[in-house]
């Protein structure tokens, strides 16, 4: 396994370890739950996908008023880890819905997680989402657009260089005058 792979595995193990650690006290007599996620198989970059999850107990009965966290692995520059994408409470049908905006091209693994409580055991589920597209999502726009400011700057700069050019022409005239004077002097000496 490459270093990068090992790093990702390690990062994935952290939330799992946390899950197990927090779950241990309630495991003995907690009711096991199932968390089922539904997500579109693919989505365009920049579009918002609806991710749903249903929490049920072992008999298939919905579990209402349970907090479900949607998270995924993300990285920025040299740092990375589990990033919470949303948090919702299940309705009477044990269902939650998240609006997920796809901002990264490629396959994104989304995870829904229920931490459990004194009655219910923790539960987690994952779904893969293929994000397609390559358009630039962020377009910079100036807060205030002053019409023609660019051309004003170009004009100023050109004006300065035009004066430089004029000075160069004057230097040329000095040189020409010098050569004429030298010629005259040579003539007179001759």
């Amino acid at each position: 396994m490459s270093m990068r792979g090992a790093k990702w595995l390690w990062r994935a193990l952290i939330p799992l370890s946390l899950l197990l650690a927090t779950a241990t006290p309630v495991l003995a007599d907690a009711i096991p739950l199932t968390l089922q996620m539904q997500a579109p198989s693919q989505v365009r970059l920049g579009e918002t996908a609806t991710i749903t999850a249903v929490l049920r107990d072992s008999k298939g009965a919905p579990v209402p008023r349970a907090t479900i966290v949607l998270w995924s692995q993300s990285s920025f520059l040299s740092t990375g880890g589990a990033v919470e994408q949303g948090k919702e409470v299940t309705d009477a049908m044990g269902k939650v819905a998240f609006a997920y905006e796809a901002r990264t091209e490629g396959t994104v693994t989304l995870n829904a997680y229920y931490a459990g409580d004194s009655r219910f055991a923790p539960a987690q589920s994952s779904a893969a989402l293929m994000v397609q597209g390559s358009e630039q999502l962020y377009q910079e726009s100036p807060g205030v657009q002053v019409p023609g400011v660019r051309w004003l700057l170009v004009g100023l700069l050109s004006g300065v260089w035009l004066i430089y050019l004029t000075v160069m022409v004057l230097l040329g005239l000095i040189a020409r005058e010098g050569s004429q004077a030298s010629g005259g002097a040579g003539g007179s000496h001759g």
Partner: protein, 471 residues
Amino acid sequence: MEKVTESRREALERTVLRPLVHTSTGYRLLVGFLVLVVLWGAYAYSTQLQQGLIVTGMRDRILWGFYITLFVFFIGISHAGTLISAILRVVKAQWRTPVTRMAEFITVVALSVGGLMPMIDLGRPDRIPNLFLFGRWQSPILWDLFSITTYLTGSIIYLYLPLIPDLALCRDRLGTEAAAWKRAFYRAASLGWQGTVRQKKYLNIALKCMMVLIIPVAVSVHTVVSWIFAMTLREPWNSTVFGAYFVAGAIFSGIAAIIIVMAILRRAFHLEAHISNRHFINLGYMMGAFSLIMLYFNASEYLVPGYKMAGDAPVHFLQLFFREYAPFFWFYIIGGMVIPGLIILVPQTRTFAGVLVASGLVLIGMWLERFIIVVAGLRVPLMPYEPSSYTPSWVEWSVMAGAIAMFSLVIAIFAKLVPVIAIWEVAEQYEEHEAKETALTPEAPEQVAWPQWGRAAGPASEQGATSGGTT
């Protein structure tokens, strides 16, 4: 009285032209030492090129260090010259004449060396063309590129214009005493200057254009350099006065640089008869005035955000006033501004030596100020992470030493190539001074503005023709 002027001019020419044909052992040793330091700096840079910026102390959080500090410092010094020289010319300050040439040359050399620093900082110099290929109008980096290029070009022209009559003098007076390549250089660079009426007229127009134009160009350069910081999202750089603050700091450090270079060249070339202590004290007055302006800017810069203490300002103020950067900061404030100001203020210390000490303190203080702005500014976290630290590596120390040595080396070489004092301007000053002394009505400035030497001397030259004159 005409004879007195003539003899003073002769003495001036003899003293100023002498270093161009005579080289001492001390000079050779100095140049050898400077070359060695430059080579060491080049070796350090080659190490950086081979191994990447990892050999420096810069990292992803404090991403600018010595190189950008030096860049801002040298650009500041560059204001010494052209700006000060242009201002003194525009206001016709009589004492300026022995100062302007050195000042103008400091500008060109400091800009050239300073301009190298961002390229060294890039780590990948092969990406420099990207600035032109993919540069964006919205980026202050691109503005900086344009303004520095424009300023450098203008400064070279402004240095060259008043050199022309002196280059002609070198061509006519040095003769075979100078090396063949030097004679060829003087011949080509003097543009056939004969001092004819038309040549003087053209040169006067060119000089007037440049002396007026170069002032706003110089101001724009350091303003744009300050915007590289002020327009970046960093708490300590959120300032609307950065432009004026940087320009004032540039002139302040520039004056100090002129004083030090002038003192060294006066001593080395025995120019005491033409550069008096009065010149140093006059420059000291300017420096003293700017120390007050700088104190005002610093009070404004720190009092306003310090009063509000918004955002991450407390982190910045703590590190500046009491913690990591406190020694640097307080040296800059007290050693770099208050003490130099006091030295100039107190008559007993307002001497040549005092002004020299004050200039040294100002230069150190202003370098520290740039370091504080760059490094302490970047140390304040942009996101919720622990403040980082920056320790320059041997590579950065070596490159900095190499850059300073290169600055000194080019000045040392220049001093052996062209007169370090504008002879024609000083001669003109002598003539005017003596004309006043004898209570004679001076002729119109245009008529007396040019000393008459070389092949152009004599009445014939006034009619636009040449004469055998003094050749």
